[in-house]
Symmetry: C2
Subunit: 429 residues, 2 copies
């Protein structure tokens, strides 16, 4: 009985050319992280459920791929790379030493309802700098984001940052410091659900009155986008304001000295929904594609590994939204790598053809030798379908003249060149 070939809903194959594009993006990101001193760290796809979800209950549970293995262990596919990283730090922290910088690119699993751009298996791309309290570390994560997105060549973008402490200061001013987490969670939805609904939520969930609500929107508007100047007077209002604004001033100064001030802007509407952030937070938006949401987000946390250890473990980290970025890349538009198909004219010529193939590959040029001595038409069809840049023929005529016939498939132009010039001609094409 033959079986119907199919994948699970929310799980996808990545065929070429998409897989080629993803592979290129990952190579660029990895190298960029490494140039900033981050090292790779790999954790298993499957872990003890207890390790991954800690004492958490509720919503997260429904989304888990959780089961009993053959040894009756309660196990779970990882749903992010942050919890496993926290576990590694608690387990191997002494060996790793602090400060420590790691990146991890790997697949995670969540049983969400599949929808456009949301998959049950997705690729997470994280980098973290732990064991540092200095704002230089925050700035470095932002600089790494900027350098990464630049390297991916996906258009203009801005990192928008804020300080959770500033929002806490506002919460204190409003007399709801104890409900600060809920307050931030609501404010975070502003770009998505708008002012009216945020106002409603503040009334319903936090019993805000009109004057409190007006204060919130005044605050957010008065200093919209990069208006640190407007915030300065608040430094005298409370200790929390003073700390928060001083940090933002230092941040601005470091980013300026790093020469990235044009790529990173203060934005008080950024506060990140996640509970564990405690300081500077940021999201990144493409100027031409704001609709895909933030493509690189992160922030500072005080205690990453609280489920595993009572030791303080401050740090800064961010994620690149690889799947989102890939969703806007048209694979057709990517500049293709230089590539050449060498036709197979039979055993008589194949030694020279193999030698040329070796030479091309040694020069980092993609090269295939057609796998049988078939009709030329068939070999050219293959070259077309695989989108080779060039197809070359080395047969009887070419041998007698020590030449090779080279056809550029896009233009159809054909020329015969000395055998020894092949690598150079392809390289400079």
């Amino acid at each position: 009985m033959t079986i119907t070939p199919r994948t699970l809903a929310g799980f996808n194959d990545l065929l070429p050319p998409e897989s080629i594009t993803k592979s290129k993006f990952i190579n660029i990101l990895k190298r960029n992280f490494e140039l900033f001193g981050f090292v790779p760290l790999e954790t298993p796809h499957l872990e003890y459920t207890e390790v991954l979800i800690g004492n958490a209950e509720g919503d997260v549970q429904k989304e888990l791929f959780r089961f009993q293995d053959n040894g009756e262990r309660d196990v779970c596919l990882r749903f992010d790379l942050t919890v496993p990283f926290a576990r590694v730090l608690a387990q191997h922290g002494k060996q790793l030493g602090l400060p420590f910088k790691r990146y991890a690119i790997g697949n995670c699993f969540r049983g969400e309802r599949p929808q456009k751009g949301r998959y049950r298996e997705f690729t997470q791309c994280d980098f973290d700098f732990v064991g540092v309290e200095s704002l230089f570390a925050d700035a470095e994560i932002i600089m790494t984001i900027i350098s990464s997105i630049k390297a991916l060549n996906v258009g203009n973008f801005t990192v928008r940052y804020n300080n959770r402490k500033l929002m806490n200061a506002l919460a204190e001013e409003l007399g709801i410091l104890d409900s600060s987490a809920e307050f931030l969670r609501i404010i975070d939805k502003l770009p998505k659900i708008g002012k009216d609904k945020v106002g409603e939520a503040l009334i319903t969930n936090l019993n805000f009155n009109d004057s409190q609500i007006n204060r919130v929107f005044d605050f957010l508007n008065s200093s919209d986008y990069a208006a640190l100047e407007n915030l300065k007077p608040y430094k005298d209002k409370s200790e929390l304001y003073k700390i928060a604004i001083s940090e933002l001033e230092e941040m601005e100064s470091i980013l300026f000295k790093a020469g990235v001030q044009d790529f990173a802007k203060l934005d008080l509407s950024i506060c990140r929904g996640l509970g564990y952030y405690t300081g500077i937070v940021y999201e990144t938006f493409l100027t031409e594609n704001p609709e895909i949401g933030s493509i690189a987000s992160g922030g500072r946390y005080d205690q990453l590994a609280s489920n595993f250890t009572k030791d303080k473990l401050p740090g800064v980290g961010a994620s690149i939204g690889l799947d989102r970025l890939l969703s806007i890349i048209s694979s057709e538009n990517l500049q293709r790598e230089k590539s050449i198909l060498l036709c197979n004219m039979g055993m008589e010529y194949i030694d020279t053809v193999f030698r040329l193939a070796n030479e091309l590959r040694s020069n980092n040029l993609i090269c295939e030798v057609y796998p049988e001595s078939a009709k030329l038409k068939k070999q050219f069809q293959y070259g077309d379908r695989r989108k080779f840049q060039f197809v070359a023929i080395y047969g009887e005529n070419e041998r007698s003249l020590k030449q090779i016939t080279l056809k550029e498939l896009s233009s159809g132009t054909e020329k015969t060149i000395p055998l020894d010039d092949l690598v150079g001609v392809i390289q400079s094409a």
Copy 2:
């Protein structure tokens, strides 16, 4: 309550420097596959159990990570990359077109008893060339193996190849062609269990008599390692011998013309245990580390996707034993990449330091700026622990002279050089 940080038995974290080494190996292999025209293809880690195991029963079942997901689907973590590839070909074959060359590097899961070098989660590294009957494709897979292992720089090695058809011809001569699969499975164990035990197994499982057993060992010995010449007389003995030996002759000729004859040798003891191989098969051994077994194995198959389609789908494929290769690499002995730690002497100097960092990274040099203006001793200790090649200081003295102080950590030598020379000095170090 804090949770004990731990991993499941047979599942491992890969910490630096091991993860760095693995990442480097994977980069080298990916690039090499790409230079030969293979493209990446990614499939999900989780699939329908039916899709992965087909109609198979028995042993394989015990090793599966199989469970019911929240939608009550019978699902399973993939145990290899070959079955998912076969599924993709049956599902998307028209879109992909034939011939088609893909590589895949990804983690697979088997619930085997964990032991040294055997893990429940392991990295599989496969490349296949499907839709071709020509021996050029077989030769190309061997050439790709040779080029890959050379690029990894792990010492001398030999690809040892044979033809399953030759062993079938022998089985026919012995009158047991119908039991050829079992015969090959037993012969395959020769290097592991030795002549005596193979002889016993032939008697017990296939009712061999003494003359049959003698014939087997005569055959295997008479032409031990690269003695195609000795086989030629057999071409007259049967049609099967004739086909098998002609193929080996053609293979030898192609490999010679490709200039890789020193890396690939005929070895009649190679027959691969797996049932689906039908033609040329090969294993690869490191000259200095034969004990780790084959580091690259594969062969030709007639019908890869028989579970999913009745269409014939011939091809050739191989796997690189990445985990085995990594087991013999001492991370300490790997040549370290050029890297430099720039000390942080405070906000006054940091703009120049950031500019230098940018310049170094643009030149593909790994560079970190220490994340706070700490005591120099502390910054140097960090440089030592992270094994930077250089630590550099740019402070008051250096600024006034437009210089930078550079210390090589391995030798302890220190020198002061013009600021503009930094990149050049590191590059040529």
